[in-house]
Symmetry: D2
Subunit: 179 residues, 4 copies
Amino acid sequence: MSPLELDRDPAWLSREELDAARGRLPILYVDAVPVRVDDRGEVSALGVLLRLDGEGRVCRELVSGRVLHHERVRDALLRHIEKDLGPVALPRVPASPQPFTVAEYFPTPGVTPFHDPRQHAVSLAYVVPVAGDCAPQNDALDLTWLTPEQALDPGVQAEMERGHGVLLRQALAHLGRAV
Amino acid sequence: MSPLELDRDPAWLSREELDAARGRLPILYVDAVPVRVDDRGEVSALGVLLRLDGEGRVCRELVSGRVLHHERVRDALLRHIEKDLGPVALPRVPASPQPFTVAEYFPTPGVTPFHDPRQHAVSLAYVVPVAGDCAPQNDALDLTWLTPEQALDPGVQAEMERGHGVLLRQALAHLGRAV
Amino acid sequence: MSPLELDRDPAWLSREELDAARGRLPILYVDAVPVRVDDRGEVSALGVLLRLDGEGRVCRELVSGRVLHHERVRDALLRHIEKDLGPVALPRVPASPQPFTVAEYFPTPGVTPFHDPRQHAVSLAYVVPVAGDCAPQNDALDLTWLTPEQALDPGVQAEMERGHGVLLRQALAHLGRAV
Amino acid sequence: MSPLELDRDPAWLSREELDAARGRLPILYVDAVPVRVDDRGEVSALGVLLRLDGEGRVCRELVSGRVLHHERVRDALLRHIEKDLGPVALPRVPASPQPFTVAEYFPTPGVTPFHDPRQHAVSLAYVVPVAGDCAPQNDALDLTWLTPEQALDPGVQAEMERGHGVLLRQALAHLGRAV
């Protein structure tokens, strides 16, 4: 979720309250790597969002967002996928709660491969096959489907912020693909 | 796969050759727990096969079978699901090769919770959502869909052979359900 | 972590602030199932804490506690294990961040198998082998080591609160044991 | 395990019998990525073996070998680690049977990222912390400990055969490291 969009979110917390909490507690997130799979379950493409960052540069991101109070993790995944890919993406949220990794985002770069200048966020990361039509929503400029090989391209990786390039590669590794 | 069916399998190995290999090498298997999931990915039911065992008693089993020479693990899963649930089960084979557990079946009971009098088999176990119509095939008498609660019923568990009752509970645990 | 102990914690948040956050955000936790393993990595015993609950009844719990702001998940695991098992438990915190499950504790019982009357907590659950001397700390009355078979005893399960009995069984399932 | 060493193995199967089985059945393997971890469980180094391949070129490999008939997976891991790293490596074999991936080695390159000219092998892959002294055994020329950064070096990757470079990166991804 981009900074802009976060502020527009129908808020359980006011922006001031969220800012206060962010200075005090790790914030629980979910990250989703949307994928296209064939009939054998083999991944053919991975979905990456294009946005403008705060300084007007194009950057690439995975689907990502906060888990709300009293919200199940699987409902947070569904909500953020719908928010970013639209209402007919037909996501197949994993039946098991076991994430493929846990990404720890720190405000200070270098503590982990993941970085979020706004907050200390801890994110449960899942690969989510989507079977329906996907279209970029809100402030996303585009949604790109990359083959596993394209996802490893240094140019693509360089445009991914906050460590999402690493997360995409970790997802590919979990999928049994070359990284 | 039942003993009878195994022998009927279009064989890469003759029965004599398979019997010889079984006395010398661990045999690679896949086990699948077929599940029905709702739109949120929550499991609503687990599929269990009813068969007659060698002595004419009704027993319950999961989908299970050998991985063939030069066969991908995901293709073995698809083949055994089609063999047991029919051609229109529409299985969603996991995109990742990581199984939820590895079940080691020994000819001697008690070495592990899993037992196979015919052989030392090592099985990669996956939960596989199926979205289509399922019908028992070949020598299966019936296919029963159990709720997670029903799957824990001691009567059901008592009818499951070779440790498949334990495997079903391990699958439920992996799915985040009470066991 | 018991309610009493939580309040005694050297606080990043005052008690009032934590109470306010608990009403607004899911709180990130870690749960640890301490185990004894033999030289082959096989689990021989699982560690369970005995405490008095708010009404003076004996109850059993796993090691559990909050992840603090700017704290790595692995450091939270180490801190809570030291707090509950003492400074020479020699825990072997997993090298991978992938938890065996994610337990979602809701204030309303029945939403998931996990329940916490104080808050919506989401907990990353790990099995942690401990190689050193363990002794109950603070308000724990005792630390009991249970064999995998004893851990399944209905009497033991009945004394475990907040769904920790289910979590213990899910850990056993992940360890390849009968449940 | 190198081709030479395989032939020297105290055989459950004669070499002829093993060769025959290899032409008929997938052979079950274990792959181990030996790692050094600090007190917090963080990986500091990964162990890679140096050998001469059949044509006298230096190549790098992970610990790898067959699971024998009637052998538990964890005992196969211990046996191959002792065979390659010596008797006092003090490996901490994982308590759970869940591998971080399953590597499918095909005689034909390109089917998967993994390749074995001798056979169709399916390998359960584990990260195994070793706490003791390690020394290269048998036909290994050396054992090198690489930092996570060094393990990603293209020169190192180019010397790893059969897809072990990919497996090393998949292990790093599972460990939450940049890849």
